[in-house]
């Protein structure tokens, strides 16, 4: 299904209300929009000894990321056809409470919007070339794929590469 696609990776912040309006403009026949935003939490109990996280450092492989994000959207659209999609992902230094990522899907019915948004998030976490470093008062640590993220991605079966 043809759909409107927006993928952006960069350092600046994004405005959820504005992105919502733009997505609706690009898909005027949609009846359902699902939005996900991920933010820097102030406490990461499973890493770096339960300490408060001062900030995250995010980097990516620019020549790969945007294309991978688009491929993930195409795959999501094949499985759960929708009208419009937005993926925004920030890189650089991000403090607790800051926005990291936004995935938004507009579609006729809510089921596909929910499914596609979850699919995209699961694959962003496990396939897209982003890396995140937690910096706290006791040290810094590069995060890897979390087991539960890998399991979340595995529930969708294989990608149609």
């Amino acid at each position: 299904m043809v759909f409107s696609k927006k993928v952006w990776v960069g350092e600046s912040d994004f405005d959820v209300g504005e992105e919502y309006s733009k997505l609706l403009e690009s898909s005027p026949h949609s009846g359902a929009v699902v939005f996900f935003t991920g933010l820097v939490r102030d406490l990461y109990p499973t890493n770096v000894n339960d300490e408060m996280v001062s900030y995250l450092e995010l980097e990516h492989y620019p020549e790969m990321t945007e294309r991978l994000c688009e491929e993930i959207l195409d795959e999501a659209n094949q499985r759960f056809p929708f009208d419009g999609a937005t993926v925004l992902h920030r890189v650089g230094k991000l403090a607790a409470g800051e926005q990291i990522v936004m995935v938004a899907i507009s579609s006729r019915h809510r089921e596909n919007a929910f499914q596609a948004a979850q699919f995209v998030m699961d694959y962003l976490k496990t396939r897209a070339t982003f890396w995140k470093k937690e910096v706290g008062s006791k040290g810094a640590e590069w995060l890897g794929v979390k087991d539960k993220d890998r399991q979340a991605a595995e529930r969708w079966g294989e990608l149609n590469d």
């Binding site: 980097e59 990291i100 982003f130 995140k132 890897g144």
Partner: protein, 83 residues
């Protein structure tokens, strides 16, 4: 010439984000890593060989058997953690 890029933790272990290898006899990623082992830290080489590490050739995910070519860009990618 092959251009090698290191990301995230691999960059820190390598002490550099890019490296050039001038050896046109290298056929695949496996041979490239053996070549890198001659000059780069053992700790990095061990990490590159970990099963969770990923590799790309010309911006596409590739396997350990991925074929190299003149002017290939090879990325060594630790487990990703975006989103």
């Amino acid at each position: 010439m092959i251009k090698v890029l290191f990301f995230a933790g691999f960059r820190e272990l390598a002490g550099t984000d890019a490296f050039e290898v001038n050896d046109d006899s290298l056929r695949d990623i496996r041979e490239l890593v053996e070549k890198l082992a001659e000059t780069l830290p053992a700790e990095l080489i061990k990490a590159l060989k970990d099963e969770t590490a990923l590799v790309s050739i010309d911006h596409k995910y590739a396997g350990w058997d991925g074929k190299l070519h003149q002017n290939a860009e090879v990325g060594f990618l630790p487990p990703v953690s975006g989103g």
